[in-house]
């Protein structure tokens, strides 16, 4: 019974995937809950042993995160403050058990509208690296996520890495998640904010909101309202109406649509305020 493939190289993996019907497996924290069976059904390919899929490296072009890097590895890594939001998200994904197994690549490929990894990566202008037998391609994360549980990944492609351009490694970032309980909770709304501050003014702003639209998204209108603003005035510039205009939240079990967009605006204000706080001398 060869229903569980563990190729040693990406090339081997692609060759196996070319045959079709192969499900990549990383942490399994999305795949196992999706089945009631005792074993994972179908033809499974374990990506966690593939070279280059785990770990974080920096180079002149920026930062590369292997797709199979776990949340725990992300949280423990020493990273620039621009990635603080991602690290804050990492310790709020599920509980420790989930963080030890679950991966950032799995989070993106699973493409839940409430995936906590997405907003922090959106504010980092992240590109995803997809490898198929036709070659390598890179896509902005926003284009990779095409809808709830839908991505631009072809069935025979692997997500191998995330690239964060050097230009996005500046500034500081912050993540906030709102849920109905303390741990192990799916977000009602979550936000990530990355700000560059120069001489008390915001020189660059990147804001993203998750769980309030089919896929998490950036808020260009709000970003431009913040750009150039004095830090102290920044939170007040985030207006509910502008945030609501960028989102298309749903009414569901966890919250009403109106509540969601109002909460997202409030979370954004708070994260911006946190980042704009004068650093105590």
């Amino acid at each position: 019974m060869t229903d569980f493939l563990r190729p040693a190289t990406v090339e081997d993996a692609l060759a196996l995937m070319a045959a079709g019907g192969v499900v990549p497996l990383a942490g399994g924290t999305d795949l196992y809950p999706a089945t009631q069976r005792r074993a994972l059904p179908g033809l499974v390919l374990d990506v966690t042993g593939l070279p280059g899929l785990c770990g974080i490296t920096t180079g002149p072009a920026g930062l590369r995160i292997g797709a199979a890097t776990t949340w725990t590895a992300l949280a423990r890594a020493t990273l620039p403050p621009a990635l603080a939001a991602l690290q804050q998200a990492a310790v709020e994904v599920g509980g420790i058990q989930i963080q030890n197994a679950g991966t950032i690549g799995g989070n993106l490929c699973n493409a839940s509208p409430a995936a906590d990894g997405v907003p922090p990566l959106l504010v980092l202008d992240t590109e995803v690296e997809l490898v198929g037998h036709r070659g390598i391609r890179r896509l902005p994360l926003s284009q990779f996520l095409t809808g709830p549980r839908q991505t631009a990944r072809q069935a025979d492609e692997l997500l191998t890495a995330l690239h964060i351009p050097a230009s996005a490694l500046s500034g500081q970032s912050h993540f906030r998640k709102l849920g109905a309980r303390a741990y192990l909770v799916i977000s009602i709304a979550m936000v990530a904010v990355r700000l560059d501050l120069q001489a008390g003014r915001i020189s660059h702003a990147a804001l993203a909101v998750g769980a309030c639209s089919a896929t998490a998204c950036r808020l260009p209108q709000v970003e431009s309202a913040l750009t150039g603003a004095p830090a102290a005035e920044a939170p007040a510039l985030i207006r509910d109406a502008d945030v609501a205009a960028a989102l298309s939240p749903l009414d569901d079990l966890r919250a009403t649509a109106a509540y969601r967009s109002g909460a997202a605006a409030e979370l954004l204000r708070r994260s911006v305020a946190t980042l704009c706080q004068p650093v105590p001398a």
């Binding site: 563990r6 497996l25 005792r38 074993a39 058990q97 030890n100 109905a180 309980r181 799916i186 979370l267």
Partner: protein, 894 residues
């Protein structure tokens, strides 16, 4: 695939499909059943194991991933883990014990990194493991005190009033044996085919063809030899073990499929059943309409039952009252969410069908299973497994008749474990309620009268609906003197999940209505909210709404105990915006409502000097195994350490009734008291010693001494009595009650327990989120037989009350997992201070009253009252999710 690993420090290998869940590989392949399965989805953490030292969910880990790695489970013999086990026992951190292995493993990983964690660090490390019993406080305390065990200065005597380690504790910290953990090899695995529709007709296609193709055996209602109808309350029995032609609720079983128990993973997707879905009745109001389709013959208007209590003339009095408030509250389905889904095994012993499963009511299981299977009760033996939480739902039959049927018809052992989704879809829930009415008081703030109408969605089948309908009107006054009263509770059938027993039998829902209205009434009367309650608290000699005159009432004492905390909290809250303080009380009658519910306890000394306690009260975590033994040992006068527990087991233990209605400490406790006392009297009579003699056991010799006088009895010389013992006694107790008349007047309970809780919280005004800061709980339990266990009950009940108030909402088909159905985690429970009030009740053993359900009742209304105090928001639909609080705040601002 052959997987080589280091398992608990030693090399091991196992053969498993590489994609098999590691939890399955451990349990089924290696027989290591200490790793528990609560959800198979990463949501509960019960399956936590350490892979190269890091906690992971074994249910989400492919077996292949253990290859070449270090795996540790609760079966490990490791210093950190062993110290933690000891700390769990010292602190009373294991109640039912189903979460304990996961807690221990996650805790061990933390302690290796950080031997002296702070409570916050402990909470974060255990945030991925759910516990439904304890409220986490004792678990966190144990984690923070997990060094080498302290030298015991004086081991607890175990006497009444002390807190010895629970007698079943060692098993719990080793990974106890629950319903899914013991089975006979070479049998059958049973799975149920369940309806995805809430209302449907159905028929089968080619069952024989499907069976032939899959090698499975199929059983349907046509195979049931007895009466295909069961129910907790016999006159209302209406639930088929397997549906015959109609589906009345989602998740109802229509057929059983039995496969060889050889590790295969059958695919049931092609099972030949053809559904003809009908429009379901999903609201009690719609179902009560005269033209609504009827779920059950003979139940017009889909009314299962209505309970009433009438005293005086409430309408007239309210019309003339100085202050009257009126309001409606709504609550939804609440899932018990015990971490152990229903599970059990069956086998034949001669012509006796043995069923070992998790249950709260072994004798009721035996009798109802026997009826369904057409057997005399004596041919069914129920052996309760350790029970991984029950809270009311495991009072009802679940898989007992199903595995019983398969084993009876095939003669082969069988076993069945519900999936989380199956457990949630098919078992009972707390009744959704809509409660409306009015409460009035005079100008001085004395309650004049109350009118209450409650509509309870009882779902598809009767279950404990009649109990809810009867308990609610009796209790809806709260523990307050209410001279004029009219209350009605109607239980209406719908195609929703069957609503049954859940900690409090509808009283928590009624208390939400009454206690929130009390706050508004206090405000109108211009009285402090605590003092208003104190003024109206029932006192000795006053009568209840059923006309029962009370003695040894402890409610005003509970409020007295809260008063200093209340003033402090009010002063603190006044200084900080967004802070609120709330209070609510409870009372609750222990035992069945005006119906017999006897318990019997047997105790015996063997010829070898062993003291055997036949203890038939199932311990679902609440502690009966320990408390009943403490009572019996105290009454007998031999130390707790001498006691060996037998049972529960319907072949070995006399009937101690069901574990519900907060009755075990009281009712079975009284039986244990009587049995212990009877055995003592017999011993003293034989030795011709006086009442004050001290007894001890010296091997097979029983020694009685008083002053300089000593007498010995060599037990080995005595002939075995009819029960097989050298000496034994068996005693029963049934609480004295008086039936309720047509106006609900009578004395439905022999005793009541009382309590009041105070909640301090902060509301985030922009987000509507609630941060609980502290809960102070004063409960009059008459006498704390075991204070540690009592505190554990309080903390656990409060945790469930928090869930009810703030997050829990079961929606059929949408929240059938612990991902979407949220229960509190370690981070959701504030510090809890328990104040144990002891107003002895002459009827209770050593004065003790029940406590198990009381503790949940005040929490939710106290939280709502604190939210209103903080923000003005009146949340009347539960749970008080952030968006509902925000909306209520906006309404209050207008």
């Amino acid at each position: 695939m052959k997987i080589d690993l280091t398992l608990n420090g030693a090399p091991a290998s196992l053969n498993a499909a590489p994609g098999l869940r590691l939890s399955e590989a451990l349990r089924e392949g290696l027989g290591l059943t200490g790793t528990k399965i609560g959800c198979d989805a990463g949501d509960c953490g019960a399956c936590t194991v350490l892979l190269d030292g890091a906690p992971v969910c074994a249910c989400l880990t492919p077996a292949a991933r253990a290859h070449g790695r270090r795996l540790e489970t609760v079966e490990a013999d490791d210093a950190t883990l062993n110290h933690l086990r000891d700390a769990f026992l010292r602190h009373g951190a294991a109640q039912c014990g189903i979460c304990t292995p996961g807690m221990l493993m996650a805790g061990t990983a933390l302690l290796r990194d950080n031997p002296a964690p702070s409570p916050d660090q402990a909470r974060a490390a255990l945030g991925g493991v759910l516990c439904r019993c304890t409220g986490y406080a004792r678990i966190i305390a144990a984690i923070c005190d997990a060094g080498p065990p302290p030298l015991e200065d004086a081991p607890s005597s175990g006497t009444v009033g002390s807190s010895p380690r629970r007698l079943d504790g060692a098993a719990k910290v080793a990974g106890d044996s629950f319903g899914a953990d013991l089975w006979q090899q070479g049998g059958l695995i049973v799975r149920a085919i369940r309806s995805p529709h809430a209302s449907a007709r159905f028929h089968f296609g080619d069952l024989a063809g499907w069976a032939a193709k899959t090698g499975a055996q199929v059983f349907t209602a046509a195979d049931i030899p007895g009466r295909n109808r069961f129910g907790a309350i016999p006159p209302f029995a209406d639930q088929p073990a397997l549906a015959e032609t109609h589906i009345r609720q989602r998740g109802e079983a229509v057929a059983l499929v039995a496969f060889e128990d050889d590790g295969s993973d059958p695919d049931l997707s092609g099972f030949p059943v053809i559904w003809d879905p009908l429009t379901p009745l999903t609201s009690a109001l719609d179902a009560a309409a005269p033209d609504a389709p009827r779920l059950h013959e003979g139940r017009a208007g889909n009314l299962l039952i209505a309970g009433h209590v009438r005293r005086g003339d409430a309408a007239a009095v309210l019309a003339a009252s100085a202050h009257v408030v009126e309001g409606t509250t709504r609550t939804g389905f609440v899932e018990h969410a015990y971490i152990e889904p229903e599970a059990g095994a069956a086998w034949m012993e001669g012509d006796c069908l043995v069923i070992r499963a998790c249950t709260q009511a072994p004798v009721m299981d035996r009798d109802d299973t026997a009826l369904v299977l057409g057997l005399p009760p004596g041919r069914v033996r129920i052996i309760p497994s350790a029970v991984g939480g029950g809270f009311g739902s495991k009072l009802d039959l679940s898989l007992q008749p199903l595995i019983g049927l398969v084993t009876l018809l095939t003669g082969r052992p069988s076993r069945m474990t519900y999936s989380r989704a199956e457990s949630m879809a098919s078992t009972t829930k707390r009744h959704p309620s809509q409660i409306s009415g009015r409460i009035g008081c005079d100008a001085q703030g004395r309650i004049t009268g109350m009118e209450m109408d409650g509509i309870f969605d009882t779902g598809a089948y009767a279950s404990w609906g009649p109990t809810v309908a009867n308990r609610v009107p009796v209790h809806a006054s709260g523990p307050y003197c209410t001279p004029h009263y009219r209350a009605e509770a109607r239980a209406i059938h719908t195609n929703n999940p069957t609503a049954g027993a859940f900690r409090g039998f509808g009283v928590p829902q009624a208390a939400i209505w009454q206690e929130t209205l009390y706050d508004r009434l206090a405000e109108q009367a211009g009285l402090d909210r605590l003092e208003f309650r104190h003024l109206n608290a029932l006192r000795d000699g006053q009568t209840t709404v059923t006309g029962q005159t009370l003695h040894s009432t402890g409610i005003s004492q509970c409020l007295d105990a809260l008063r200093p905390h209340w003033s402090r909290a009010l002063a603190e809250a006044a200084a900080i915006p967004g802070r609120g303080v709330g209070i609510a009380s409870c009372w609750y009658g222990c035992g069945n409502t005006a119906l017999p519910n006897p318990s019997t306890i047997r105790i015996g000394l063997t010829g070898a000097g062993a003291l055997m306690l036949h203890q038939g009260a199932t311990d679902i975590g609440q502690g009966s195994n320990t408390v009943i033994a403490q009572i019996a040992s105290k009454a007998l006068g031999l130390p707790l350490s001498a006691v060996t527990l037998i049972g529960p087991d319907t072949h070995l233990t006399p009937d101690a009734g069901k574990t519900s209605a907060s009755r075990q400490t009281f009712v079975t406790g009284r039986a244990a008291l009587a049995a212990g006392a009877a055995l003592r009297a017999e011993i003293l009579r034989r030795l011709n010693m006086g009442d004050a003699a001290r007894l001890s056991l010296d091997g097979a010799t029983l020694v009685a001494s008083e002053g300089r006088q000593t007498a010995r009895l060599d037990l080995s010389t005595l002939p075995a009595d009819a029960r097989g013992y050298a000496l034994s006694a068996e005693e029963s107790y049934d609480p004295p009650t008086l039936p309720l008349d047509e106006n609900g007047q009578g004395s439905p309970y022999a005793l009541y327990g009382y309590g009041a809780q105070m909640v301090e919280l902060a509301v985030d005004p922009a987000l509507g989120t609630v941060r609980l800061l502290k809960i102070t709980a004063a409960h009059d339990l008459g006498r704390a037989i075991n204070p540690l266990l009592a505190q554990g009950q309080i903390e656990g009940g409060i945790a469930q009350g928090i869930g009810l108030a703030l997050m829990e909402d079961y929606i059929p088909g949408r929240t059938e997992n612990l991902h979407d159905y949220l229960i509190p985690t370690t981070g959701d429970i504030p510090p809890i201070e328990s104040l144990l009030i002891e107003v002895p009740d002459p009827e209770g053993p050593f004065g003790a009253r029940g406590l198990g359900e009381h503790v949940l009742i005040p929490t939710a209304p106290a939280i709502l009252n604190a939210i209103r105090h903080a923000t003005g928001a009146e949340v009347t639909t539960l749970p008080a999710l952030p968006h509902r609080i925000r909306a209520a705040m906006q309404r209050a601002e207008k």
